[in-house]
Symmetry: C2
Subunit: 139 residues, 2 copies
DNA sequence: ATAATGCTTAGAATAATTATAATTTATTCA
DNA sequence: TGAATAAATTATAATTATTCTAAGCATTAT
């Protein structure tokens, strides 16, 4: 008799060494890395690591809700291991992305939300970060 | 003696027929089209139109502040001829993007904004649009 | 007219991401 | 424990979006 599959997210996919290495790198990481960033770091310790594995793992984790795919950087996808509701602060000069906790109440105008099932929202704040300001002053 | 260049944005670049065709298509367009969408439509009327011209024009217009480049769709860039401050409502089922006027006040927590020169913000609301809801009910 | 400048074109090049096929590694369960 | 099965990894090819390049055209200024 086939047992009911465990609902536990953590055991839903095989914990291969490659995946563990990627997960370990992402754990607590607030730098919003791209696939390439992840590959660069993780492949150093794990010689045979393939780029495809990075993408596969990221897609798997995203589908499982363990990871958030960010569409903030126009050049590439970024990944955020923090899947809780929060927003982002982007420096338009250096591209750095910082987290903003969600303590900001935002309401959609009623007439717009009426015909929409609203699932969530994401705010991108953009501006100049402190280190870029210093750099510019120095000139 | 070299004359001072006109500051007027509208006359800063040549109004070639290709550019006019693209501009005409974008005028008042609220569908947030991709470069390909634009190419498909405009090249029908303008046989010789090249894809590179579409990209060149879009980049030129974006740099000139006549067009907003949207980083909402993870697959490709979208373009919005409405450069006024406003937000977007995205159907995660069909990908349609609607406009939301900016009458929503949003404040950054003070401690975060302190070291940042804040230039603006953009909110993405996501959910299910009415036509996708109907489609799902029909099943 | 001629030169200079900027635009368009076709196609090549690049970069990010996904697909494929063969092999290897986990997991299951007898 | 150890086959059988399922899933993951790898290397590489393929795809897609976008940018670059080089040559020709058009427009403007001389």
């Amino acid at each position: 008799m086939k047992q009911i599959q465990k609902k536990n997210e953590g055991t839903r996919f095989k914990r291969t060494p490659q995946r563990l290495a990627i997960l370990e790198y992402l754990e607590g990481n607030t730098s919003h890395p791209s696939a390439e960033d992840i590959f660069r770091v993780v492949s150093k310790r794990y010689q045979s690591m393939s780029f495809a594995t990075v993408y596969n793992t990221l897609n798997t984790l995203t589908r499982a809700g363990e990871l958030r795919e960010l569409t903030i950087d126009p050049e590439r996808k970024r990944y955020d291991p923090d899947t809780s509701r929060h927003h982002h602060l982007i420096c338009v000069l250096c591209g750095k992305i910082a987290d903003i906790p969600e303590k900001i109440g935002v309401e959609l105008p009623k007439d717009m939300a009426e015909h929409f099932v609203l699932l969530g929202h994401h705010i991108e704040f953009y501006g100049h970060c402190s280190s870029c300001q210093k750099k510019n002053k120095a000139k």
